[in-house]
C-alpha cells in the first residue's frame, strides 16, 4: 500500500491503455511517454504495461505503508528518499514508513512512478488507466488525491536493483524535430501553409494537457475552409482550426472532430511532444509512410534492446 502525502498538481494512474472503445467515443488514455513508462516498470520487475503513476511538472510525495520496490523515470525531476537525494531511472527498495518526494521537473513534463506489483485499482473496460474527462478508470476516474491509499498487486520476489544506462535515458529540452506524415487533409491547406508548418518552429502553450498540445507559431493558411464534416482523430493528429495554429492530439483526445488535420506525428515521437514544456519550441519534418514504419520498428527494437545495468 502507498499512502499519498501530497499528490502534486496532476498525478494519475496509467497502464498500457484502453483499446477497442474509440468507436464509442472513449480514448485509449495510457502514458504519454511510453518509453519512460515501460522502463519504470522493467526496473521493478513488472510487465511493460503494469499500472503506474504519471505525474505532471511536479511529482508527488509518497509514503510506503508496507515494504515495496519503486522506480522513477521520465521528466528530469529531483528525487529524495527520507530527505536524502536518491537516484532516478533506478530500482529503489523502500521499507515501511519510508517517504519519497519528487520535486519540480527541470526538463520534460511527465514522469512515472512504477511500483512492483503495479497499482491495483479496479480495471474499467479492461484497463486501469485514468480518463479524466470521462471520469473513468484509475482512482474513481480522478487524479490521485492527498491521503489516497493505493493498493498494490502481488509483487514478484524482491526485484534486483538495476539502473537504466545513461544512453537509454531520453534527453528533454532543446527544439526537437518531430517526424510527421502529411494528411489526411493536407490538400485543404495552401502550399504556403504547408511550407509554414514544415519550415517554422512552434511554441508549446500552457493550455496543453493529455488531450492535446496547443502550439503557437507561423500561421498555417487553409486553402478552402477550416471545417470538415467530422472524422476520426488518430494519435498525433495535427489539427489546425481557423486561427491557423496547430494542436497535436494525444492519448486522451476526442475520438472524432471537425477541424482539418494537416499531418500526423509518428507514434515514436509522441513522447517528445508530450515532454515539451510550455515555452519550449518544436519543429516538424515530413516523412513518407514507409520511412515512418521503418523508424517505428527501429524505435521498438531500441526499447526492447535496453539492457538494465545491475548495481550493488
Amino acid at each position: 500500500m502507498i499512502h499519498v502525502l501530497d499528490p502534486g498538481p496532476q498525478t494519475t494512474v496509467q497502464d498500457a491503455g484502453r483499446s477497442g472503445h474509440m468507436r464509442y467515443g472513449i480514448p485509449p488514455s495510457g502514458p504519454v511517454d511510453r518509453h519512460s513508462f515501460v522502463l519504470a516498470n522493467r526496473l521493478v520487475g513488472n510487465p511493460d504495461g503494469a499500472a503506474a503513476l504519471e505525474f505532471t511538472l511536479m511529482g508527488p510525495r509518497l509514503r510506503a505503508e508496507t515494504p515495496c520496490t519503486i522506480a522513477v523515470t521520465g521528466a528530469d525531476a529531483p528525487l529524495t528518499l527520507n530527505d536524502a537525494a536518491a537516484p532516478v531511472w533506478t530500482t529503489l527498495t523502500l521499507a515501511a514508513g519510508d517517504v519519497v518526494r519528487i520535486g519540480a521537473a527541470r526538463a520534460g513534463v511527465r514522469g512515472y512512478v512504477a511500483v512492483a506489483g503495479g497499482i491495483d485499482v479496479p480495471p474499467v473496460l479492461g484497463s486501469r488507466s485514468t480518463y479524466l474527462r470521462g471520469r473513468m478508470g484509475g482512482v474513481h476516474g480522478r487524479p490521485v488525491a492527498r491521503d489516497d491509499r493505493l493498493p498494490l498487486g502481488a509483487a514478484p520476489a524482491a526485484p534486483r536493483r538495476r539502473t537504466v544506462p545513461s544512453e537509454a535515458r531520453p534527453k528533454w529540452g532543446g527544439e526537437p524535430a518531430l517526424r510527421v506524415v502529411l494528411g489526411p487533409q493536407a490538400d485543404r491547406f495552401t502550399d504556403e501553409g504547408i511550407a509554414a508548418f514544415l519550415g517554422g518552429s512552434y511554441e508549446v502553450l500552457p493550455q496543453s494537457d493529455r488531450m492535446g498540445v496547443r502550439l503557437r507559431g507561423a500561421r498555417i493558411a487553409h486553402a478552402r475552409g477550416h471545417d470538415i464534416i467530422s472524422d476520426g482523430i488518430a494519435l498525433g493528429a495535427v489539427q489546425v482550426p481557423g486561427d491557423g495554429q496547430p494542436i497535436v492530439l494525444l492519448v486522451d483526445r476526442q475520438s472524432t472532430g471537425g477541424y482539418t488535420k494537416i499531418a500526423t506525428v509518428c507514434s515514436f515521437d509522441i513522447a517528445r511532444v508530450g515532454q515539451a514544456k510550455p515555452g519550449q519550441r518544436l519543429r516538424f519534418t515530413a516523412v513518407d509512410v514507409a520511412t515512418a514504419h521503418r523508424l517505428l520498428k527501429e524505435s521498438d527494437a531500441a526499447l526492447a534492446r535496453v539492457e538494465l545495468e545491475e548495481i550493488a
Binding site: H21, Y24, R133, G134, G232, A234
Partner: protein, 225 residues
C-alpha cells in the same frame, strides 16, 4: 489509415462506412487494431508490424466493394423518454419561434421522427443523428453554451444529438432524457451504438423525475428492440 467512402452527410454513404467496419470485424482482418466510423469515413488503426500500408489498402479496397446494407445484421431500435418541459427544454420556445411553429407542433415533429445514429464520437457515448423532418432544420445557436447539462436532447442544422456528459454545445436544447448515455461505473458504459435507430417518447415532468430516480438506483433500462 482513413478510408473515405464518399462525401457529405448521407444515410447511403454512412451505411457503407458501417458495413465496411462490420466486414473488417467479421473477417478479423489481420493487423487491424481498432476502427472508428464517422459520417463518410472509417479510421482504421493498424499494427504495421503485422500488415503493411499497401497490403492493408488492397484488402480494405476489396472489402469496400462488398460494403452494403445487406452485409449487416438488422439495426437495434432504442426508445428514449424525453421531457420537453420548462428548464429541461430551455430553447424549445425560441426554436419554435425561429421555425414559425407552435411549441406543441415542434415537439410533435421531433418526437414523431426516427433517428439514425451515424456514429458515436467527440465525448463518450455522444450520438451523431439525423432523421428529423426538414421542417426542423435550424441554424446552430449564435452563441454556443459553455455548459450543456448531461442528457440534453438538441438540434442543430439537420442533426440531432444528445449530450452524454456536461460539455459545451451549440445546438438548441429541446428537452432532456433521464436515461444515461454514458455511465463510467456501469459494466457497459455506453448505451447507443453506431447504426441504432432512436425514437423519443414524450414524458411529463413527473415521469422524468420518476425515471431519473430509477436510473440513479440502477433500476431502469430503456426499451431496446
Amino acid at each position: 489509415m482513413l478510408v473515405e467512402l464518399g462525401e457529405g452527410i448521407s444515410v447511403d454513404v454512412n451505411t457503407r462506412v458501417r458495413a465496411l467496419e462490420y466486414l473488417i470485424a467479421q473477417k478479423a482482418v489481420p493487423g487491424v487494431v481498432e476502427t472508428v466510423p464517422t459520417y463518410s469515413a472509417l479510421l482504421v488503426y493498424y499494427d504495421p508490424s503485422i500488415v503493411g500500408y499497401d497490403g492493408l489498402c488492397g484488402q480494405l479496397a476489396a472489402l469496400a466493394e462488398q460494403a452494403t446494407t445487406t452485409a449487416m445484421p438488422p439495426a437495434r431500435e432504442v426508445e428514449l423518454p424525453c421531457c420537453y418541459e420548462g428548464e429541461l427544454g430551455p430553447d424549445v420556445e425560441a426554436a419554435a419561434q425561429r421555425l414559425e411553429l407552435s411549441v406543441d407542433e415542434l415537439v410533435r415533429l421531433h418526437e414523431g421522427a426516427e433517428y439514425l445514429v451515424y456514429f458515436i464520437g467527440f465525448t463518450p457515448g455522444l450520438p451523431y443523428m439525423t432523421g428529423a423532418p426538414e421542417r426542423l432544420t435550424i441554424a446552430r445557436l449564435d452563441n454556443p453554451r459553455v455548459k450543456v447539462p448531461a442528457g440534453s436532447v438538441a438540434i442543430g442544422g439537420i442533426q440531432c444529438c444528445i449530450y452524454p456528459v456536461e460539455s459545451p454545445g451549440g445546438f438548441w436544447l429541446l428537452g432532456r432524457t433521464p436515461v444515461r448515455l454514458y455511465d463510467p461505473e456501469a459494466s457497459e458504459p455506453i448505451l447507443l451504438k453506431p447504426g441504432d435507430r432512436v425514437r423519443f417518447r414524450r414524458i411529463e415532468r413527473r415521469e422524468y423525475n420518476d425515471i431519473a430516480e430509477r436510473v440513479a438506483a440502477g433500476r431502469f433500462r430503456p426499451v431496446i428492440r
